[in-house]
């Protein structure tokens, strides 16, 4: 039954994802890509479970490695997206001066 619940969540999220993303303007597509990258680092949540569950040594190693890579994704993704986005500025003062 739990799998069915998960499938329900999957269906809704896919629809929601399409609605949300198709509203992002072309200007922001590069930050969108890196931002999506950061979100996909959510696997870190799964990795934590494996790295800390006190499993077999090899499994813990796998989990720890997964934590490393997922964290790179999360931290790197959000930081680089923030760097990019904070460059986008609206015009501060209106353009002055008319054609001579």
């Amino acid at each position: 039954m739990e799998a069915v619940f998960l499938a329900f969540v999957l269906m809704l999220s896919i629809f929601l994802g399409f609605e949300l993303i198709s509203k992002v303007p072309a200007t922001l597509h590069t930050p969108l890509m890196s931002g999506a990258n950061a979100i996909s680092g959510i696997t870190v949540v799964g990795a934590l479970g494996s790295a800390g569950a006190g499993l077999d040594g090899f499994a813990t190693a796998l989990g720890a490695l997964a934590v490393v890579f997922a964290t790179i994704n999360v931290v790197g993704g959000y930081v680089v997206t923030d760097r990019m986005l904070s460059m986008f500025k609206k015009k501060v003062a209106p353009a002055t001066g008319a054609k001579r």
Partner: protein, 453 residues
């Protein structure tokens, strides 16, 4: 923390991801959106750390520290021009994480066979994403030859790998032991498959590949979510999956090619464009200055060459000089100018060009005949009139910015060489076209120097 409470927090985290993406809908709120999304991630991580299943924090803290340091450094150091490479690497890292999470999940007790299947999917998709992204990165940064690598039996080899993959997958699911040889086979074959599907694609198509792999990394996260019964992975994974698919689709549409064409065929192999010949009219920076000084409306059309030349800052400077001179200045952005969707926008934003001066292709084209000078900076394919007129051209049908309809066109590039598509450009021979040869940054600096004199 009880499992219920953790999941309530996951709902909050998911809502923050969603809000974050919603706010990415406008440049004015995008920074906040990214922050909200990051807060969501923080919440998800923190509540997971408090979950009862976690016994030892040593390894976790070490690995998170290492990962965070690498990610932070990479993000701080990367130049805006190398964004495509950076995204490719992050993608690969996400794929690898999914592979490892899936693998580790095999050690959990009480997996059902449905869970085993999702674990396998997570390993497989993660592996393909990882190795594919690494190849894409290598091609983009020209560590390996960026041309399509094609050999005779390619299709057969790929088909064989696929068959072997499926067979090993089925055999593994029938007896899912952590030391099953089929497990190792699936991991290795997945990695090999990722390499094989990306090498036959030309370097300039890498953005499409990266975007598709981005979508896969979302799917891998979804699969991992099913494997460990975790809602937040499913929600976040779907959002990423949707983002990747939509961006892939936008790029393909803007290039007037199908996804199948991008993935499976060498480019330009079928059609040959009508050869164009004619007289080219080169000008000097001084001539360009005189014309620009008299213009009352100027639009800049940047392309990949602007990124190569790192010319965005001088372009902005020239734009400001022209504005102070009384001209109306805009920047016309083609959806696939550069090597990544939104590439030019980020570069111009870096150079402090306000985003309300950027104009999309569909908005500039109807009024381009009223523009005095269109300055093409290192763009080529995206302004190639052959896409509009020459039915034999491989890029026929791709929508372009019709700079040839402006009163005067300046083209800034180093030579008569063709752009990424390898197609000749009749624009260069146009009646109203002037070629300003040389590195874009250099050329614009010279024009600026004339202005300041």
């Amino acid at each position: 923390m009880s499992l219920e409470l953790i999941n309530v927090w996951y709902i909050v985290a998911a809502a923050l991801f969603i809000f974050g993406l919603k706010q990415l809908g406008s440049p004015a709120t995008a920074v906040r959106g990214n922050l909200l999304s990051a807060v969501g991630m923080l919440i998800a991580i923190v509540v997971t750390l408090f979950s009862q299943g976690i016994m030892t924090y040593t390894w976790i803290m070490i690995s998170m520290g290492v990962g965070a340091a690498i990610g932070w450094l990479a993000a701080q150091r990367v130049a805006m021009t190398s964004m495509p490479e950076m995204v490719a690497l992050f993608n690969g890292s996400g794929g690898l994480a999914s592979l490892l999470v899936g693998w580790a999940a095999l050690y959990n007790v009480g997996n059902t066979s449905f869970t085993d299947i999702t674990i396998l999917l997570s390993i497989l998709i993660g592996g393909v994403t990882f190795s594919g992204s690494i190849i894409a990165w290598a091609k983009l940064s020209e560590i390996m030859p960026s041309a399509a690598i094609v050999f005779g039996a390619q299709r057969i080899v790929n088909a064989a790998i696929l068959v072997a993959l499926i067979a090993c997958g089925v055999l593994f699911c029938m007896d899912p032991a952590v030391d099953s040889p089929f497990l190792y086979a699936v991991i290795v074959l997945g990695l090999v498959f990722g390499v094989m599907v990306v090498i036959p694609i030309g370097g300039a198509d890498m953005p499409v590949v990266i975007s598709l792999l981005n979508s896969y990394s979302g799917l891998a996260a979804c699969a991992a979510g099913f494997a460990i019964h975790n809602n937040i992975l499913i929600v976040a994974g779907s959002l990423v999956g949707a983002a990747g698919i939509i961006l892939t689709n936008i790029m393909c549409k803007a290039m007037n090619r199908s996804l199948g064409n991008v993935l499976f065929s060498g480019f330009g192999a079928i059609k040959t464009a009508t050869k164009v010949e004619g007289e080219v009219k080169p000008i000097t920076a001084n001539d360009a200055f005189l014309i620009l000084e008299a213009a009352s409306s100027v639009t800049f059309v940047p392309g990949y060459g602007m990124a190569v030349a790192q010319a965005q800052h001088v372009v902005r400077e020239l734009g400001e000089l022209l504005e102070r001179n009384g001209a109306e200045v805009s920047y016309a952005i083609h959806p696939v100018a550069g090597r990544m969707p939104g590439h030019m926008n980020v570069l111009l934003a870096e150079a402090n060009v306000p985003y309300d001066q950027l104009v999309e292709m569909d908005d500039i084209n109807p009024r381009i005949n009223n523009i005095d000078v269109a300055v093409v900076i290192g763009a080529n394919d995206v302004v190639n009139p052959a896409a509009r007129e020459d039915e034999n051209s491989p890029i026929y049908g791709m929508p372009i910015i019709n700079v040839d309809h402006a009163r005067t066109v300046f083209v800034l590039k180093r030579s008569m060489a063709s752009g990424f598509s390898g197609v000749d450009n009749p624009l260069f021979f146009g009646e109203n076209t002037r070629m300003l040869f040389g590195d874009a940054k250099q050329s614009i600096s010279s024009v600026i120097a004339e202005f300041k004199r």
